[in-house]
């Protein structure tokens, strides 16, 4: 198990290096001069030139790449062109916002998705099964940016039930400790703020949860159905076990493996793919942070931001793989 973990970690090195390389060169292939963009439309030529010099953008590309690589290896993610802040310090609030949102979205997706999948499999071909699966199919067919706008329109503008954007009540902002507001408000015992944070979370997290929820429901169902056909389920029933026990003890644990994979993949996708949701709901997350940086050609931010997201993605999937081993004793890692 340990060796497997180590081996997997070792295998990450070329992936991360390759990633750094690709990000670097794609980003530098984007036309447009960062200095010009930073200084704006109304800047003079000399100012632009001077800023380029200052940012080290006059060096040959490979020199820039290696210095960037060297910096990363020493844990220095660089400084944002726009704010001149160290990215390693600047990025956490954004990351935390995305993590919080993704976590809640994933929680919704898993709780509803897994249960819907189980019930559908259990009552295969019932009206519940049909409607749940049709809903799931619609779920994967909806453009989430559209869903987000519709949600906003319905629940925020028309009904005025929930706030349409942001993470917190601007009039009574959360005092950040971890930047995970759900935790921060609880630590501070501010239940009113906690409720407020939850209210802000609902619309974006539901929009974000839609696709994974649908996918999880579908996978859970098909994987449950497959498991329920298996020989050991027949054995369990031949022992005299009742269906509920069979489903929740024997089937679910076996069915959970493909679901785990999907949860891992989807969580990773959420982390980076939240750009659209974050834009629509003004969620100050990592997706918008990077997207904004692309607009501004803030090379260090794009590079480091993408690397952080990708690394998280990879690690989440690594954790999922390791979870398999916990669930499934057959996967014995030498």
């Amino acid at each position: 198990m340990l060796t497997y973990t180590l081996r997997r970690l070792l295998m990450l090195i070329p992936v991360l290096l390759g990633m750094a390389l690709i990000v670097f060169f794609i980003i530098h292939a984007i036309p447009g001069d960062p200095a010009q963009i930073i200084l704006g439309q109304q800047a003079t030529e000399e100012n632009v030139e001077a800023l380029n010099e200052q940012l080290g953008l006059n060096e040959p590309l490979y020199v820039q790449f290696f210095s960037y690589l060297g910096n990363i290896l020493t844990g220095d993610l660089g400084e944002s062109f726009q704010t001149n802040n160290a990215i390693s310090e600047e990025v956490w609030p954004f990351l935390a916002a995305t993590i919080e949102l993704s976590f809640v979205a994933m929680l919704i997706a898993i709780v509803i998705g897994v249960n819907a999948g189980i019930i559908s499999a259990w009552f295969q071909n019932s009206w519940f099964d049909y409607s749940a699966m049709l809903l799931a199919l619609i779920g994967v067919s909806i453009p989430i940016f559209w869903l987000g706008l519709m949600e906003q329109w319905a629940f925020s503008v028309e009904l005025n039930w929930l706030p349409s954007s942001g993470r917190e009540n601007v009039r009574d902002p959360v005092e950040p400790i971890t930047h995970l507001f759900l935790i921060d408000t609880l630590i501070q015992g501010r239940l009113d703020q906690f409720v407020d944070v939850v209210r802000h979370l609902i619309l974006p997290s539901v929009a974000l949860a839609t696709i994974p929820m649908a996918i999880i429901a579908r996978i859970t169902r098909s994987s449950m159905l497959e498991v329920m056909k298996s020989d050991y389920i027949r054995t369990a029933r031949a022992k005299g076990m009742r269906m509920f026990g069979v489903v929740y003890k024997h089937s679910l644990k076996n069915a959970v493996i493909p679901v785990l994979t999907i949860i891992g993949l989807q969580t990773g996708l959420l982390l980076g793919g939240a750009i659209l949701t974050e834009t629509i709901f003004s969620w100050p997350g990592i997706g918008r942070y990077i997207y904004g940086a692309i607009d501004a050609r803030d090379y260090p931010v794009i590079q480091s931001g993408v690397l952080i997201v990708a690394t998280m993605f990879i690690f989440i999937n690594l954790i999922v793989d390791l979870l398999y081993a916990a669930v499934d004793p057959r996967i014995k890692y030498h």
């Binding site: 070329p14 992936v15 390759g18 990633m19 690709i22 794609i26 980003i27 292939a29 984007i30 036309p31 049709l134 199919l137 619609i138 994967v140 067919s141 909806i142 453009p143 940016f145 559209w146 706008l149 519709m150 906003q152 329109w153 503008v157 996918i215 579908r218 996978i219 098909s222 994987s223 493909p258 990773g268 996708l269 982390l271 980076g272 793919g273 750009i275 659209l276 834009t279 997706g287 990077i290 997207y291 692309i294 794009i302 993408v306 997201v309 990708a310 993605f313 990879i314």
Partner: protein, 299 residues
């Protein structure tokens, strides 16, 4: 010889009249029985026909502006209302069908071609070729795909064509991996061993046995991916990185009418519905194809 013939007349007399059921025919029969899949296929065909015939059936052209008649609610003259240029929303959605389907289809074909090439190379030759290609896929998959698409479009410049290229690129690893694993598993099948045992060359083996047997998951995945690609194109259009005005691409229509969500929601609701229905059609059809062609394949 006589002995052989004598002992072997084992077939039931009726069997001569059995019809020949090819795997494709068999799949079609299964597909036909699946009502949801059929509904999906009909939806897809409906939009395809809409797209093909759009110049003839759309009541108005793509850019027939009428500034005196903007943001009209749905009525008998404009079934789905008009947008901020006074253009007929229905007409634009009909024209948009062509764009969305075209982008979806072409980008998926692009992904399949590139993915197949890389996937086969990786799966068939293995070793370092596999390592390199697989790592490349890993890297690409670790990127948040929409971010990758945005970056690619940023490099190439925003246009429908470049959005198409970006979408094709980001979906390559999905197909590549699929084909690689399929090639690997087909390679293990006994009929491949059998084909080798009759002395078949690798190239023929690949073309005649491995590829045809890998094709059904590609068709299934391809169908599902057209749906995803349409959404991705719409997302890029929505961010202003895809189709350029006045092209009536659905995502770009959404972006243009976003501001009217409270005052003229029809400009927003209908293009969104069009995307959803089309994608739903492809998803239903893909699911049906999966059940018909490749029942073992997972969702």
């Amino acid at each position: 010889m006589s002995q052989v013939a004598e002992n072997q007349s084992p077939l039931q007399p009726s069997s001569q009249h059995d019809e020949v059921v090819s795997p494709w025919l068999d799949a079609w029969r299964k597909f036909r029985k699946n009502k949801l899949a059929l509904f999906g296929a009909i939806t897809v065909i409906f939009f395809i026909i809409l797209g093909i015939l759009s110049p003839w059936i759309a009541p108005q052209g793509i850019n027939d502006q009428n500034m005196a008649n903007t943001l009209q609610a749905p009525s008998s003259s404009h079934l789905l209302g008009t947008d901020d240029f006074g253009r007929d929303v229905l007409s634009r959605i009909i024209h948009g069908a062509r764009i969305s389907l075209w982008v979806g289809f072409l980008s998926v074909v692009g992904s399949i071609v590139m993915g197949c090439l890389l996937g086969i190379l990786a799966g068939y030759y293995g070793r370092w070729v596999d390592t390199i290609i697989s790592r490349l896929f890993d890297i690409m998959l670790a990127f948040p795909s929409i971010l990758l698409a945005i970056t690619i479009v940023a490099v190439l410049g925003p246009s429908l064509q470049n959005a198409l290229i970006a979408i094709a690129i980001i979906n390559v690893p999905n197909f590549g991996r699929l084909i690689r694993s399929k090639v690997l598993s087909v390679k293990q099948e006994e009929y491949i061993m059998a084909a080798k045992a009759i002395g078949m060359k690798d190239s023929r083996l690949l073309m005649k046995h491995i590829l045809p047997n890998s094709i059904s998951p590609i068709i299934v995945q391809g169908t599902l991916s057209i749906g995803t690609a349409i959404i991705e194109a719409a997302a890029l259009g929505f961010l202003g990185l895809g189709a350029q005005p006045p092209q009536p691409e659905w995502g770009q229509m959404l972006a243009e009418s976003k501001a009217y969500i409270t005052t003229a929601p029809w400009t927003m609701i209908f293009p969104g519905l069009a995307i959803m229905l089309t994608v739903l059609g492809f998803n239903l059809m893909g699911d049906g194809l999966r059940d018909a062609l490749d029942p073992k394949m997972k969702h």
